[in-house]
């Protein structure tokens, strides 16, 4: 076949929908070999980079695998055995995982935070399914919060009372992060709308709030909430330390989320506002039905970015004396007989953080795809 007839055949096939023989691309462009050539060895510098990276991987990976698995001590044993071994000491985690997961929560009562976390995770997973996004889900969350609060705090139904000063570990991290997002996000949306409002006072207040909170580090916000706030309260009125930290994180979260949402709002064409106006929708109808659904959808990647950042930032509460996951992991290292196993300790909590953050990331990608129907061509 000459080039010309080939060209014509392809054109013809494209036009008729392919009754004529399908022309395959050359074999050098497909399959494993084709992929390797195209992606790893396409040019001499690409080949060089591939080889250097392969060398580095070959140097690093066996050592890591050896430390993690092969030379690691898996059995529950004495610290001395661990110190003699070359690999990781998972016996340390075995010994300390309850302290790391639940902090100083009374040992015999730790079934309560366990149950609370499990219930929370079940409802969280159920909430990921858009088919369940109905009013009853909101009711379920309110009920669940009451149940979790009762479980954690106790004092009724024969549960011993556990003051919030003894809460810690994973439940504390999840609680701080969840409330930060659940309250900070709507607050952030309001601030973002306020910043774009036609009303000068609303706009000024929103700008002042966002810039003030965003302009200081989270540590400062936490210190302010923990140390300064009581100074402004009337004598005798005191707010729980945990609650103060939680409020600080919520304020911080809302300011950041407001700016992310504002970015989404700015991407909505003026025509959408005008069309909504012209069919007679009021401000809140327009915002809820037309603007926010579009603005939030395009903001999903930066929103999740901020969510993940905030989830990890909750670890800063250690500076106001709360023992979240990181704080508890540090506390586990203070045991004199188990001193020095910080790698295992941090690796363990890093994995927990990773599972949560990676799930958020994956879920957001799924959501993005699902919500993308409208703009699909």
């Amino acid at each position: 076949m000459t080039d010309q007839t080939l060209h014509r055949t392809v054109q013809h096939a494209a036009r008729t929908g392919g009754d004529s023989p399908v022309v395959q691309p050359p074999s050098t462009k497909t399959g494993v070999i084709g992929w390797l050539r195209a992606n790893l060895f396409s040019t001499w510098y690409n080949s060089l980079a591939t080889l250097i990276l392969l060398y580095i991987l070959a140097k690093l990976v066996p050592g890591i695998i050896d430390w993690l698995f092969i030379s690691a001590v898996w059995s529950h044993t004495e610290p001395e055995v661990c110190r003699a071994a070359d690999g990781a000491c998972w016996a340390f985690i075995h010994e300390k995982y309850r302290l790391i997961l639940f902090g100083t929560y009374p040992f015999d009562e730790q079934w309560r935070p366990t149950l609370a976390v499990l219930l929370y995770l079940v409802l969280l997973l159920a909430s990921c399914n858009r088919a369940f996004w109905k009013p009853w889900l909101g009711v379920a969350w309110v009920v669940l919060l009451a149940v979790i609060g009762t479980l954690m705090y106790g004092g009724i139904f024969g549960l011993t009372q556990v003051p919030t000063t003894r809460w810690g570990g994973l439940p504390l991290t999840l609680m701080l992060a969840s409330f930060a997002l659940a309250i900070g996000f709507p607050l952030g949306i309001l601030m973002a709308l306020g910043r774009r409002s036609d009303l000068p006072i609303v706009r000024m207040l929103s700008v002042a709030y966002i810039e003030l909170i965003r302009g200081v580090p989270l540590i400062t916000v936490l210190f302010m909430a923990s140390v300064m706030l009581p100074l402004f309260l009337p004598q005798g009125v005191s707010i729980n330390n945990l609650l103060r930290a939680q409020i600080g994180i919520i304020l911080f979260a809302s300011a950041y989320l407001a700016e992310v949402v504002r970015g989404g709002l700015q991407a909505i064409p003026k025509g959408q506002y005008e069309a909504a106006d012209s069919i007679g929708l009021g401000y809140w109808q327009k915002t809820r039905l037309i603007i926010l659904p579009q603005a939030l959808r395009i903001s999903i990647p930066p929103l999740v970015n901020t969510f993940i950042g905030l989830f990890k930032d909750t670890s800063l509460v250690i500076i106001v004396g709360l023992f979240d996951l990181v704080g508890a992991a540090k506390a586990a290292l203070t045991d004199p007989s188990w001193r020095g196993f910080y790698r295992e300790s941090y690796f363990f909590i890093a994995m927990i953080y990773f599972v949560f953050c990676f799930s958020m990331s994956k879920y957001s990608q799924h959501l993005e795809k699902k919500l993308n129907v409208g703009t699909r061509r």
Binding site: G271, S278, G280, G282, T375
Partner: protein, 260 residues
């Protein structure tokens, strides 16, 4: 059921003899730029008006003042007996009676065609969902795309999108329809399908104000053609006189430029 008979209910505010839109001495500035200068315009019920003029002459701004997408700064606009002030109640009342079709269609991309059409009737007019959907289907058939009801706007051609946009406005059963260059963003082969829809709307007695450069449409459909330049209404006339016997030099120049 024709469109005309549907909108027959007389308004409580205005007697049927008086103009449905009355603009008196309307002025508007964009910053220092005087975009509308002393506009006087009265539109009768069922009147079809085409507005043309060079770009930047204020024609879009003028019709956008009628449903308060732009705020006029001096003068008086009365639509169907309601004066357009900064009072939000009046603005909402007028917007319920005035439909608008945009150059860029401005459909809501995250909603299906059906949802685009039923949104305002359900939320603004408080029509039950089922009834709103029946009305929407009726108008989709009128613009001849009932089979697209469950698609998203992004899946339709430009001409189809503009017809959906027209149907979306009609679902609110407006007394007046404003068209802001409805065919300017369309590929040439799609202009006709949109114009046909507009012609049939005109034949049923809809009050229409249409900013367009489609002079064929102006000739066949319009009761009156208005020429604007530099924010003023320079000349207005019946179409045959407007095109056959233009008075001002500016209109003569404009016509010579667009009618080769």
């Amino acid at each position: 059921m024709s469109l005309a008979s549907e909108r027959q209910s007389p308004t409580a505010h205005a007697a049927s003899g008086s103009p449905i839109i009355e603009m008196t001495g309307v002025n508007k500035w964009f910053g220092e730029f005087h975009v509308l200068k002393e506009i006087h315009l009265a539109v009768e019920r069922k009147e079809r008006i085409v507005i043309c003029g060079p770009s930047g002459s204020g024609k879009s701004t003028m019709i956008r003042c009628i449903n308060a997408l732009e705020e006029h700064q001096r003068g008086k606009i009365v639509v169907d007996g309601i004066e357009l002030t900064s009072n939000l109640k009046n603005i909402d009342a007028i917007r319920r009676e005035v439909g608008m079709v945009f150059q860029q269609f401005n459909l809501f991309p995250h909603l299906t065609v059906m949802e685009n059409l039923t949104l305002a009737p359900i939320w603004v007019r408080k029509v039950p969902k089922k009834e709103a959907e029946e009305t929407a289907m009726y108008y989709l058939e009128r613009v001849r795309i009932p089979e697209q009801a469950q698609k998203y706007p992004g899946q339709l051609s430009g001409g189809q999108q503009q017809r959906v946009a027209i149907a979306r406005s009609l679902c609110m059963k407006p007394k007046i329809m404003l068209f802001d260059e409805p065919t300017s963003a369309l590929d040439p082969e799609m202009v006709k399908e949109v114009l046909d829809t507009m012609v049939s709307l005109a034949e049923e007695g809809m009050t229409m104000l249409c900013v367009t450069h489609e002079m064929g449409f102006a000739r066949t459909v319009a009761d009156r053609v208005i020429f604007m330049d530099f924010g003023e209404i320079v000349e207005q006339n019946r179409p045959d006189d407007f095109f056959g016997n233009p008075q001002s030099d500016r209109l003569k120049l404009f016509l010579s430029q667009i009618l080769h």
